[in-house]
């Protein structure tokens, strides 16, 4: 199962991913210029949240035991057998927002104007994900979920080498992995 991994240390909070997600997945025109003129305004399935110098793009984690799948009152939320992604069947969604209440990460977004729940499906029917393609700092990356361990190990190694270098200069440090 492929998922979108986020390198929090690389995100600058530029929100390019939001713009292109909304354009590619939410608009009729499929170009930014046309998208901004549409009513209702296209909405993104990834949102950059943060503050205090830290920003992080939030999108669906496709939980293995997804609470939203249990919560859906209409059968609009389903898991794709092939890719393992959780997605919304637009024609079944009535906009009751029960899934919004049951998402522990707050990454299902109510789109009141269209009366449907918006969530990331990793653009599973496209060649690649819009947000990953456009991220200027490569903060978003598509990885195989069982390779995530390697990504984390790499992060730990680089963090450890930084800590060792700083400690070598004679100072104790508190590592902030978010930076």
């Amino acid at each position: 199962m492929k998922v979108i991994a986020v390198h929090v240390d690389r995100c600058t909070g530029c929100k390019t991913c939001e713009l292109f997600c909304a354009t590619e997945r939410g608009s009729e025109g499929k170009t930014l210029l046309k998208a901004v003129q549409e009513t209702p305004l296209p909405q993104a399935r990834v949102r950059v949240e943060g503050g205090d110098g830290v920003s992080v793009p939030l999108q669906c984690r496709h939980c293995l035991d997804a609470p939203c799948l249990d919560a859906c009152l209409t059968g609009a939320l389903a898991r794709d057998e092939e890719t393992g992604m959780v997605w919304v069947k637009d024609d079944r969604c009535i906009g009751c927002w029960t899934c919004v209440m049951f998402c522990p990460y707050g990454v299902i977004y109510p789109w009141a104007e269209r009366k449907m729940a918006l969530k990331c499906d990793r653009c599973m029917h496209m060649e690649s994900s819009a947000c990953v393609d456009v991220c200027p700092t490569r903060a978003l990356e598509i990885v195989e979920i069982n390779q995530l361990g390697e990504v984390f190990a790499e992060k730990r190694r680089s963090a450890a080498s930084v800590a060792a270098a700083v400690a070598g200069k004679g100072g104790a440090v508190v590592l902030d992995l978010a930076k």
Partner: protein, 433 residues
């Protein structure tokens, strides 16, 4: 006599029972599973019935399973269970058939409560409980000629029904016995904007009163009902949504009951480890000794899936959450219910901005125990899990009341804005597929 042996027998084909049967089939494909239900049809979304009877949803979209879809599931519909023999591990149906089981899952669900006004007399035509698909079909047909509707019970079902019928152009009066609508789950503060919204839509809301008399015409159909205030309200259709009671029927004579309740552990097992019970009929005994009654759709599905996998598991897993959380889009006003206040809990509330927006929590020892969000549901999901995980929120109350997240930003609402929302942001009308 007809006799059959199964690995798993599921009694009740609602959300809980059906998901139990399906998840057991998915987890243990070699097991023989049978589902027994007293309704003629199973496998439909009960929560969509108000939409269906208002003509806003085609019937085919009500179903999540149709006979013949297989999944290796045997289904016996239109039949009740007569008795249960725990020693012989055998169920007898009213059709005379007996079903032997290795494991039994009871999901009998609820039975609509009958209002006292009809208890001592013959119920006239045009009076319906809002509960099952069969009755919903009758209501839909009946409504064509009887457009004055009185809905008794201002709970979630009653409010939802009133809203959909009003949007479909019917004249609707909602009668609630308590001082405000949704009395068990909302405080007066959070109910007020919602009630005003209903009134702006044209629903007449009568709170603090009930129905004490009715008149029927010569053909035996209901013609008018009298409020406790003495006022007669003309009414061709009378819908009852004053809650449900556990439909324990044949279980009552067994010794599975404790103090009148069907009590299960967090692994959903009754006192007999081979018998599970789930859904709207059970009380869950939590480790701290309290009994939870989380009778909501998401809980029914979660319990069903868990019971289905626990049925033949050597180490049954406990249910993760017992929160009674619900959400609804009441015609453009999003509503999130976290739960009612506990005894002695403090209230943290933030009204506005604008009319019709109110966020409120009940805190007990710095932990959220309940509350509601009306109009502005920003950060609702993380908030729900903050409550479910019993996190200490003493430092975060302001942030939770007014989160900075941009997931959902309401505009400042005026009365005009609200009626605009009711017209434009109401739950989507579904097209035939």
């Amino acid at each position: 006599m007809n006799e059959a042996n199964f690995d798993l027998v599921v009694v009740g084909g609602g959300a809980a029972g059906f998901n139990a049967a399906l998840s057991c089939r998915a987890r243990y494909p070699e097991k023989r599973v049978v589902l027994v239900d007293q309704e003629p049809e199973v496998g439909y979304y009960r929560t969509l019935l108000p939409m269906f009877m208002a003509g806003k949803l085609p019937e085919e979209k009500l179903f999540f399973w149709r006979p013949g879809e297989g999944m290796g599931l045997e289904v016996r519909t239109n039949v009740k269970v007569r008795s249960l023999d725990r020693q012989a591990k055998r169920l007898t149906l009213e059709s005379g058939e007996t079903l032997g089981y290795q494991c039994l899952i009871l999901a009998p669900g609820g039975r609509p409560v009958v209002p006292p006004v009809f208890e001592r007399s013959v119920t006239p035509d045009g009076v319906f409980p809002v509960r099952s698909l069969g009755v919903a079909r009758e209501i839909k047909a009946w409504l064509l000629a009887h457009r004055d509707i009185v809905v008794l019970g201002g709970g979630l079902v009653g409010s939802k029904t009133s809203v959909f019928l009003r949007l479909a152009g019917f004249s609707v009066t909602l009668v609630e016995r308590e001082a405000h609508i949704l009395p068990t789950v909302l405080s007066a503060n959070t109910a007020r904007p919602l009630q005003r919204h209903l009134e702006n839509m044209g629903v007449r809301v009568c709170t603090g009163t009930t129905i004490d008399r009715f008149k029927a015409d010569a053909a035996g159909a209901v013609k008018a009902v009298r409020l406790a205030t003495g006022e007669w309200v003309p009414c061709g259709t009378f819908l009852v949504g004053i809650g449900s009671t556990p439909d324990v029927g044949f279980i009552r004579e067994t010794d599975l009951m404790r103090d009148g309740e069907l009590v299960v552990s967090t692994t959903l097992q009754t006192v007999d480890p081979a018998i599970f019970a789930i859904g709207d009929a059970v009380a869950i005994q939590t480790p701290d000794g309290a009994r939870a009654h989380p009778w909501t759709w998401p809980q029914a599905v979660a319990q069903g899936k868990l019971a289905g996998t626990n049925a033949f598991s050597a180490s049954p897993r406990p249910l993760k959450r017992t929160t009674r959380v619900n959400a609804q889009n009441i015609s453009g006003v999003p509503l999130m219910i976290l739960g009612g206040p506990g005894v002695g809990s403090s209230i943290e509330a933030r009204p506005g901005p604008g009319e019709g927006v109110w966020r409120e929590f009940f805190l007990d020892d710095s932990r959220i125990v309940g509350g509601a969000l009306v109009g502005d549901i920003a950060g609702a999901g993380p908030l729900h899990f903050t409550m479910a995980n019993a996190e200490d929120v003493s430092q975060r109350v302001a942030g939770l009341l007014a989160p900075r997240t941009r997931a959902f930003r309401p505009s400042t609402w005026t009365r005009l804005g609200q009626s605009y929302r009711a017209r434009n942001f109401a739950v989507k009308e579904s097209t035939p597929c």
